[in-house]
Structure formats: structure tokens, C-alpha cells
Amino acid sequence: MDNSDDITVLRARDFWSAIGLFFLSLFFLWKTSQIPLFGANRAGVSADWFNSAALVPLGIFGGMLVLSIVLFVIAIKAGGAQHALSSIGLGWDKNEALRFTTIAAILTGYIVGLVPRVDFIISSALLITALIYGYRGGHRDRMVTSSLFVFAAGLYAFVTHLPQSQWKAHGDDWVVLLLWIGLVLVSLAKSKSDKVARLVPLLSVLAPFILVCAMAFGFRQNVPNRTGLIFSQIEYNYYVNLKPLWSR
């Protein structure tokens, strides 16, 4: 620990985490109470207390409850409660909070909205472009723009093709492709003198393209969204035109 300010911040955070852990362990103790401790189990096997599926979880959540109380006491003794609501207690200024929120929005938009529904190469290209454009140099407006692009793309895919039966539809692929082109144009316009910025569009497509092809054809691994706009074409041409060349 570097200085007393760090300790103050940590204890304030400990104060909050102890409260969170206290209620979390109480909730899970209640859930554990629903698992039979004595007598017959739902599996139909007669079980004594020492064989119950609730035994170890009771110990774990009981232990967590005790430790959360100890942490709470330590935090209060070290002044954690006094600073809990102050800016020093929260330890995050507006910039930090904005940076985290935008990254979280991008990751959520990508994993929850895009990966299941949109072609992996297109969605990853958007993610890579957004992260590099948004966070190189720490420009506040770029972070927000990037996160808006990815989150909007993810939200659109999520809302229009929510059920799994619709994940193969290509409408959202086109929208995300247009958004990626839009973001590339914005990034090129904003960083005319930056050599790296000019490489980003190529890198953002090439990296997921190589990865997904290596996984699918090299390591024969499962890859997300095989029916995606671009990958379905790659797969078709691989099996119909390329593979027969060396399979004969």
C-alpha cells in the first residue's frame, strides 16, 4: 500500500463490499435452507445430515457471513464508514467512471448482443476498431462515440433477433457492417496524421478473420455464428472449392 489515502479508499470500499457480502451470504444461506439437510433428498436417496448437499454450502456461506462481519468491523475501525460516501471513499472520479462504463458497455454489447447473432468477423472488427479508436490517447469524446457505436449495434441485434431461432438472420449483419464502416470513417477523419489509425481497419478485419479460420479449419474447433454473412461464405468456399483440391 502506497499511502494513507490508498488505505482510506480501500477501507471505504471494504465497508461497501462487506455490506454486499453480508446480504449475499444471507441470501444464499436462505437458498441453502431449501436444500434438505435431514431425511430424504429430492433425488430419492435417504440421506443423513452428513450426506446432505447443503452441508458444505452451509459452511461456505456461514463462513462468508462471519468474514463479512469481521471485514465490516475492520473497515469501520479504519474510518471506512466516515469516507464511504465521499469522493475519496468511492475512489473514482468522473473520468474513471466514464472510462469503465464505456468499456463495460462495449463488452456487453459485443458479448450479449453481437457474438451470438452477428457474423464473428464483422462484430469483432467493430469491437477492435472501437476499442483502439476510443482508448488510444484517452480522448473522452472518442470513448463515448466508440461505446455508442458498439452498444447501438449490440442493442439492435439483441432487440431485432432476440430468440435463438432468429440468430441466423442476416439483417443485423448488414447494420453492424454499416456501423463498422461508419466508425472507420470517423476514426480516419479524426486521426489524419496518425499512421496507426490507418492500419486499424485492416487489423480489425484481418485479426478475427485469421483467428476464426484457424479455429474452424485448423483446430476444428467450434466457432460462434457459423451462418454469419462472411463466415458462411468462407466455409462454403472452403468445403466446396478449396478442400477438394487436396482431398482428391
Partner: protein
């Protein structure tokens, strides 16, 4: 002596098997290169390297080859962490944090080439020391472990989690224990191992099979690194590498006692369940500072200080594999990722493990360290160039790698949701200085703890004395209790008093 010779003969056979197979070299060179790259790029860790490669290789290519890839990346990444420590004053991995203390001042003084050359040599010798310790001790311990039954296994799993929580905590020890309990709690999700009773599934059928290890590993180790890396603006100036990297034999000879001592310390720390390379590096650095004649120079550019940490963190690799292979308890976070690879290949490390796997692991480690040594000496300039890539360029690609790796192992989108959820929780835990390693160790050992604890009680018909009546169990129970009691202020005071009285 006969035993040692028979082990060396077995090792020789495994080595020949590897050397005559051309695929060995492809996997070895690629994985060691990738490992050093991961280690050299600040923000990427050895655990992440092994985890990502687990996602790529483990369930689709034979374990024989995936072991080469994973161990090669492990050895390379622990060594690679020394590059930014020496040239940038930013540890590439936590294991190289102690290296920066002396490596950077040496580079500033124009001795960067010498520092890098000695680091390469020390890492090589350290890995070899740890590997041969693994070759000898794993068999001795396997003989002992044949007598280990459920009570000992349960207490050993608990000890691993507690020890990891105690030693990996940067702030309060209690936070390490809480992290371990959170991991244990996560392991309780799904069908219980004895009666198949569903627990905490909330009606979600995906949860019936519990938390899969690889998405948890990816979430716990990759997502926080990515968020943390993108949150901070790149800083730091790369120093120019001056002087020859090829080490001077006289200097190596002079520091051989330090290298030997650090190798033994690193192996010993590695053998402790759940502790890892960073603790090994610091412990060895601390011991070196205490016993060295030039202890006052540590932190100011001492070659001995640099070698103390760098030898130990690489020696820790062999040590960390001892509890993994003998007991199924990972000795370090990257070993936990290796455990994930074993699991998805349906191999259960422990007393029943196939001896051929152990001999192969030893042979791979020797070849990997040799590859690392050669690469370190002759291709260092490539890694220094890689070091210039800003975090904001490579972290987005790591995110894509992590996503596809996690998806491929489980084959489902649910694994990605789990990865994201665990990642965001781990990020906040990092922010509040909760160590993540005990959480992962808890997830990995939770199932074993639950099963063996209840099996012990089942056999003894609910008699708790089963944890005292067996000598091994009694020792482990005492260790667990001592570990907890040692954290109480009264115990700490009496320890200080005793130290004052007798030392």
C-alpha cells in the same frame, strides 16, 4: 540411487520420443515465442497465455501436443515478463515485479544487455532445477499420496485455498479468504457430486453442469486485464538495450550459488498449493537481500538481486506442477489453467495419473527451457520490438482471442455470458484488492472438497473424529487451524515476542 537412475532412464525415453517427432518443434517454437510475447507485453500474463491456449488447443488436438503448447507458453511467459521489467520498469507479469527492482536500474546504467543475458541464463537454470525437482519429488510424493484418502484430500483442498488466500493477499488476509470462499461457492453451483441434488441453478439448465473452468479462468484473468489496460493511458519510455546479451561465463560462475539457492526457494514455494511465481520471486529476493554480502545494493541495480527473483520465478514452474500432478491441486494460477486443460481431456491429475504423462511433462519442460534460452539469446531484439506495441492495440485482439477460445471449449453462448459476468466481478474484486487466484483455486478445488469432505463423513457415519484419528488428516487439520490462528493479532503478538526472546 537406483531410483534416481530409473527416473533418469524413463525421462530419457520420453525425451527421445519428443525429439524424434518433428511436430514437437513446431509446437515448441510457436508456443515459447507466444509465451515470451505474452510475458513481454505488459497487461498480459502467463496465466492468460496458458488459459487462452487451453481454449485453442486442449480439446481438439491430442493432449501430448497440447501439453507442449501449454508448457512452452508457461515457461516462455514467466521469462518474457523480465523484458518490460528491465527495459520499461513495468513488470510484464506479476512474477517479474521483483525483477524490475534491479533490472531497470541496471538498464539505466547501460547494463541492459548484461541484465537480459543473465536473466535468460538464470531463467533457464531455474526452470531446469524446478524440473528435476519435479522428476524426483513427484514420485516420492506419489508413493505417499497412495495412502491419502478422502479426509486428507478434503483438508488438503482447504489448505490450498486458505494458503493461496493468505499469501496472495496484497491488502488484508481476510480478503484472500473471502475470495477463496467465493470460488468455493461458485463450485457449489450445479448438481452435487454425491446425490445429484441441484444447487443454486435458479432454473437455468446450463447451470446444472456447474461453472466450466475455462470460461471462469478467462473471465477472472482476461477481462479485468483488458478493462484495466484500456482504462489507463500508456506511459513509460523504453530504454535502449546496451551491451551484449550473451552472458559472460565468469559472471555466471560467480553467481551460481545465488542461482542455485534461488532455484531451490522457487521450487519450494511453487510446491505450496495455490501460491505461484510472484510470491516465489519476492521470497527469493527477500532471502537474497538478507543473506547476500551485497544486500545493501539490492534495489539499486544489483545483478544478484535480479538473479534471485528471475531464477526463482522460473524454478517455481516445476514446483507448481508437483502438487498438480500428485494431488490434483494446482501450485500456481497458470498451473490452475493447466488443470483446466487436463480436465477437458478427461485426465484426473493425482495418485492415479499415468506415469508416462509425468515423464512427458518433465521432458517438455527441459526442451521448453532450452528453446526459451536460445530464443532469449538470439531473438531478443524481436521481443523488444514487440514491447513497443501499445496496450490499446493488442488488448482488443486479446479480447477477440478470449471470446473465441472460451466459446470453443464449451461450444455455447452461455459460456461467454459466464465469462463476462465473472470478468466484471473479478474486475471489481481487483479494484478492492481482493486476490483473484484464490477464487480460481476455489472454483477448481471446490468440487473435490465437497465430495471428499462428505465422503469422509459418509464412511465414518457422521463421526467428525475421522479428521483427527488419521495421522495425515490430523497434521493437515493442525496446519489449517494454525494458518487461521496465525492471523489473529494475539498470535501475531506472541510470535513477535517469541522471535524477540529466541532470535
Amino acid at each position: 540411487m537406483e531410483f534416481v537412475f530409473s527416473q533418469l532412464a524413463g525421462f530419457g525415453v520420453a525425451m527421445v520420443d519428443l525429439v524424434v517427432d518433428p511436430l514437437t518443434y513446431i509446437y515448441l517454437i510457436t508456443s515459447v515465442f507466444l509465451g515470451i510475447t505474452f510475458g513481454a507485453l505488459p497487461g498480459l500474463t502467463a496465466t492468460l497465455a496458458v488459459t487462452i491456449l487451453t481454449g485453442f488447443f486442449s480439446n481438439k488436438i491430442p493432449l501430448d501436443y497440447s501439453l507442449i503448447a501449454l508448457l512452452g507458453a508457461y515457461v516462455g511467459a514467466i521469462y518474457g515478463g523480465s523484458y518490460p521489467s528491465i527495459l520499461l520498469n513495468i513488470p510484464g507479469t506479476a512474477a517479474s515485479a521483483a525483477t524490475a527492482m534491479d533490472g531497470y536500474p541496471l538498464a539505466k546504467a547501460g547494463r541492459g544487455g548484461e541484465a537480459l543475458g543473465m536473466t535468460t541464463t538464470a531463467s533457464f537454470i531455474g526452470t531446469i532445477i524446478g524440473t528435476f525437482a519435479l522428476l524426483i519429488f513427484v514420485w516420492l510424493l506419489l508413493l505417499v499420496s497412495k495412502n491419502i484418502a478422502s479426509p486428507e484430500k478434503a483438508l488438503l483442498a482447504l489448505f490450498g485455498i486458505l494458503l493461496s488466500g493468505t499469501l496472495m493477499s496484497e491488502d488484508l488476509v481476510i480478503k484472500g479468504w473471502i475470495a477463496g470462499l467465493v470460488g468455493l461457492a461458485m463450485a457449489m453451483v450445479g448438481l452435487d457430486p454425491l446425490l445429484s441434488e441441484p444447487r443454486y441453478t435458479f432454473g437455468w439448465s446450463y447451470m446444472l453442469s456447474g461453472f466450466q473452468v475455462v470460461p471462469v479462468l478467462m473471465g477472472a484473468f482476461a477481462i479485468p486485464q483488458i478493462i484495466e489496460g484500456m482504462r489507463h493511458i500508456e506511459a513509460g519510455k523504453l530504454l535502449e538495450l546496451k551491451g551484449s546479451i550473451v552472458p559472460n561465463l565468469k559472471t555466471v560462475k560467480r553467481y551460481l550459488p545465488t542461482i542455485g539457492r534461488s532455484g531451490v526457494i522457487g521450487t519450494g514455494v511453487g510446491a505450496l498449493p495455490g501460491v505461484g511465481e510472484d510470491v516465489a520471486g519476492w521470497v527469493s529476493y527477500g532471502v537474497g537481500k538478507t543473506v547476500s554480502k551485497e544486500g545493501d545494493q539490492f534495489g539499486k541495480g544489483s545483478l544478484e538481486g535480479l538473479l534471485s527473483s528471475e531464477t526463482a520465478n522460473n524454478a517455481c514452474i516445476g514446483g507448481a506442477l508437483i502438487p498438480l500432478l500428485v494431488l490434483g491441486i494446482p501450485g500456481s494460477p497458470p498451473a490452475a489453467a493447466l488443470m483446466g486443460a487436463f480436465k477437458i481431456n478427461n485426465i484426473i491429475p493425482g495418485p492415479t495419473i499415468d506415469p508416462a504423462i509425468i515423464l512427458r511433462v518433465v521432458a517438455i519442460l527441459v526442451l521448453a527451457s532450452l528453446t526459451m534460452f536460445i530464443m532469449g539469446l538470439f531473438t531478443a531484439k524481436i521481443f523488444i520490438k514487440i514491447l513497443r506495441i501499445p496496450q490499446t492495440i493488442f488488448l482488443p485482439i486479446v479480447m477477440v482471442l478470449t471470446t473465441i477460445g472460451s466459446f470453443s471449449v464449451g461450444g455455447g453462448i452461455n459460456d461467454l455470458y459466464l465469462m463476462l459476468g465473472v470478468g466484471l466481478v473479478a474486475f471489481f474484486m481487483n479494484l478492492m484488492r481482493y486476490p483473484i487466484a484464490p477464487l480460481v483455486i476455489g472454483v477448481i478445488l471446490g468440487g473435490m472438497f465437497d465430495e471428499t469432505f462428505r465422503r469422509s463423513l459418509l464412511i465414518s457415519d457422521g463421526d467428525m473424529s475421522v479428521f483427527i484419528s488419521r495421522p495425515g488428516a490430523a497434521i493437515l487439520l493442525t496446519l489449517n487451524i494454525a494458518l487461521i490462528l496465525a492471523q489473529f493479532p494475539a498470535a501475531k503478538r506472541s510470535f513477535t515476542w517469541m522471535k524477540g526472546k529466541f532470535v
